[in-house]
């Protein structure tokens, strides 16, 4: 047994040591509590060559996890057991296996808390540091180390972290350490405490250490790689009455890596938003700049894992299946983006508002390339081993990556009938977003009707009718869905997505699906049978390629 395995086993044994303690301490002190949750997803796969669903040799694949949290007074400890036997299609195969992937213990006192083991944390909006999970996407960059939070007096919050990041069943090679401070000035300065203007400022620093390694370029030249990469961020939030303004700026020292083609340029990011809202009306404008901000705890890592920071996407995350076919995700190497949204409720008892009022949501977003210029006449932009490029901070680049204009009108007609209509107009730069140079941008219009009819107070029927039209990619789609629910327990649904506009006849496929769901308190069982389109699934800024699949699916989830 080598040293690493030994340490791992020791860790497991230490964790196991918690369990009898949990049991006993409950009996003795009678004040601790154990709670947790569980989720299991399994699919039985059938082959369907028309949609590209390949034969799965295991026939059935399963992902499952359970979280157990024990808490007693100031102390809490928890773990998550995960099992991928074997990982479901669309999840990275390196998850194959079972084990305790997450475990921690926390001690909390009045003004501080300490966590050892795994933890999730975010500084500001995450531009230089965010450790988080999206279980359903197979994304998890949990830290493994130590975190201390200290709250020395009202309005002051200090955080310090150190550790490595989860990489499937292992951790990444880089050490991540840093701190964050936040000051709520109204709580600190007594003469401000009654002020209508609230001001919060914060700052953070993160440093990554990874030993240098030998990586060659231009056949024989060796990169002189920085072992320490530092990042800083400053932020503020001002609110006064109906107005709320947020801003965060981040800087990162040069960090040549596989994602930025080993350039020695610094990184920068800016995120600002200003909102005005009162009862019945809200408006927000936001903007961002991301410049060379890929930041991972392993310099040669590409793909989704080992991100130290999080670069939020400034576009609306669509919830209907056809409007979600073309999702956008931030381009870490560089983009400029803007977003605006208006939410307005036309008051009750007006001509347009009717008896119940009418709700309107308007949203526009766009992301462009950065404006990049060559550093000199003889060096190409993004040339490895150089400073890469220069860029005007406030200028938008010419290439459009993504644009989305959408409007949604929701209305209650009477006590039985309500619904919403949406229109989405998208421009989606496939070549950049999917990394397939040469593909044309997709221009698409999506129309969606969502109608709900209450048969009795607890029985209702809901239908969605959606249509997507485009001349590019796979052409037009139509989708229909019918759902019958008996509140609060039962759901039944049938749906069909039909790619009738595909240029290739054999690809004019019906993706049908039937499903049933049963809820009892905090448990849910959901079963479905049908075909699933190949596509991109995005939640919270992470996207995952989901392969085509055909078969029977079951999900069981429970909290206890």
């Amino acid at each position: 047994m080598n040293k690493n395995t030994l340490i791992k086993r020791l860790k497991v044994i230490v964790i196991l040591g918690f369990f009898p303690f949990i049991g006993f301490s409950q009996n003795i002190l009678n004040s601790g509590s154990v709670q947790g949750n569980f989720q299991l997803d399994a699919q039985y796969y059938q082959k369907d060559s028309t949609i590209g669903a390949n034969e799965v040799s295991e026939k059935m694949l399963m992902n499952a996890f359970a979280n157990i949290i024990y808490s007693n007074g100031n102390f809490s400890a928890g773990l998550r057991y995960e099992s991928y036997r074997n990982p479901m299609l669309g999840f990275d195969n390196r998850y194959k296996g079972s084990g305790i992937a997450y475990r921690y213990a926390t001690y909390k006192a009045d003004d501080f808390d300490i966590t050892v083991g795994n933890f999730y944390e975010q500084f500001g909006s995450g531009l230089i540091f965010r450790s988080y999970e999206e279980r359903n996407l197979g994304y998890d960059n949990a830290m493994d180390g130590i975190r201390v939070n200290f709250n020395p007096s009202q309005g002051i919050m200090l955080k310090a972290i150190i550790g490595t990041q989860r990489f499937f069943w292992d951790v990444g090679p880089g050490i991540v350490r840093g701190g964050d401070a936040e000051f709520a000035l109204n709580d600190i300065i007594s003469s401000f405490s009654e002020s209508k203007t609230r001001l919060t400022i914060g700052g953070s620093v993160i440093s990554k250490y990874q030993p240098s390694e030998e990586i060659l370029y231009d056949a024989s030249k060796k990169y002189n790689l920085p072992e320490n990469v530092a990042a800083f961020a400053g932020r503020m939030n001002v609110s006064r009455g109906k107005i709320n303004v947020n801003a965060e700026y981040a800087y990162k020292s040069p960090d040549p890596n596989s994602q930025n083609n080993f350039i020695y340029r610094h990184g920068e990011a800016l995120l600002v938003s200003a909102a005005y809202s009162k009862k019945g009306f809200g408006i927000i404008l936001s903007g961002k700049r991301v410049d060379n901000m890929a930041f991972k705890s392993k310099r040669t890592e590409v793909g989704n894992m080992l991100n130290i920071n999080y670069l939020p996407t400034l576009t609306k995350q669509h919830a209907y299946s056809l409007s979600a076919i073309y999702p956008y995700a931030t381009q870490p190497n560089g983009e400029m983006g803007v977003q605006g949204e208006i939410v307005y409720t036309i008051p009750k008892n007006t001509i347009l508002g009717g008896k119940y009022g009418t709700e309107i949501k308007l949203n526009y977003s766009r992301a462009n390339s950065l404006d990049k210029s060559a550093i000199n006449d003889t060096t190409l932009i993004d040339k490895e081993g150089t400073k890469g490029y220069t860029s005007n901070f406030f200028k938008f680049g010419k290439e459009l990556y993504f644009q989305d204009f959408n409007i949604e009108i929701s209305k209650k007609i009477n006590n039985k009938l309500k619904g919403s209509l949406s229109w989405v107009n998208l421009v989606y730069n496939q070549a950049v977003i999917e990394g397939h140079p040469g593909l044309p941008s997709v221009y698409a219009n999506v129309l969606i009707a969502d109608i709900n009819y209450k048969i009795t107070p607890i029985r209702s029927i809901r239908t969605e009718i959606q249509h997507l039209s485009t001349k590019q990619d796979e052409g037009n789609w139509v989708m229909g869905m019918l759902e019958y629910s008996i509140a609060p327990q039962w759901f039944f649904s049938v749906s069909d997505q039909y790619n009738y506009g595909n240029e290739i006849d054999v690809k004019k496929i019906h993706y049908y699906n039937v499903g049933v769901g049963y809820n009892r308190n905090s448990s849910r069982i959901q079963m479905s049978y049908g075909k699933q389109r190949e596509g991109i699934l995005c939640v919270g800024g992470v996207c995952r390629q989901v392969p085509a699949a055909y078969g029977f699916n079951i999900t069981i989830t429970s909290s206890f």
């Binding site: 086993r9 196991l16 369990f19 009898p20 949990i22 049991g23 409950q26 009996n27 601790g32 509590s33 154990v34 947790g36 157990i68 024990y70 057991y81 079972s98 084990g99 999730y120 944390e121 975010q122 909006s125 965010r130 988080y132 939070n149 709520a184 939030n237 709320n244 947020n246 938003s273 909102a275 809202s277 009862k279 019945g280 809200g282 927000i284 936001s286 996407t313 995350q317 669509h318 919830a319 949204e341 939410v343 409720t345 709700e359 949501k361 929701s410 209450k454 209702s460 629910s485 008996i486 509140a487 609060p488 759901f491 308190n521 905090s522 849910r524 939640v539 919270g540 909290s559 206890f560």
Partner: protein, 176 residues
């Protein structure tokens, strides 16, 4: 490794056995530091409602059923409050991508709930929320007595019935 998993499973089972003792079923809100939608920092263990029941609903801007639940309750919320004194706390799990849009949406929709921003899911994890909408009901003593995932039209009727039962002092614990 397999052996260790087996041992872990045994330990888990024993600890579940112990946890079945009735007193430990009473769960209070964990103490998580979280921001309100207007930027103030609070501790979730301080959420209170003068001895009246509290509904805590986890939602997000990208979750349609969640918003349906909140807008359905919004229509009757005034009535509910007058009749029962109940308070609803809507916990948005939107991350930095959309958390700044929560306040304009809440106001634009005329929602009068207390809204919290759980941008990195700390409160969500401490409450063992897997899927949203996930709704909790707390009695006047701040104990979590009921929870439910998903929303269908009409689910709000069960919720207010339970609130009324709590006000009458009835036991609504789910283990019955």
């Amino acid at each position: 490794m397999k052996k260790i998993i087996f041992i872990a499973a045994c330990f888990l089972l024993t600890s579940f056995g112990f946890s079945q003792n009735p007193d430990s079923k009473i769960k209070k809100l964990p103490s998580i530091t979280i921001k309100t939608v207007d930027g103030k920092t609070i501790k979730t263990s301080d959420i209170s409602n003068n001895g009246k029941p509290i509904i805590i609903s986890f939602w997000a801007l990208w979750c349609k059923p969640c918003q349906k639940e909140l807008s359905t309750i919004a229509e009757v919320y005034d009535e509910w409050q007058k009749e029962t004194g109940v308070k609803l706390v809507a916990v948005s799990i939107d991350d930095a991508r959309s958390s700044s849009r929560v306040l304009p949406t809440v106001n634009g929709n005329n929602w009068t709930y207390e809204v919290l921003l759980d941008v990195n899911g700390d409160f969500k994890r401490a409450m063992n929320v897997n899927m949203i909408p996930h709704t909790f009901l707390l009695n006047g003593k701040g104990e979590i007595v009921w929870q439910h995932t998903s929303f269908a039209e009409g689910s709000e009727l069960e919720l207010i019935e339970l609130v009324k039962k709590l006000n009458r002092g009835e036991d609504i614990s789910e283990k019955k």
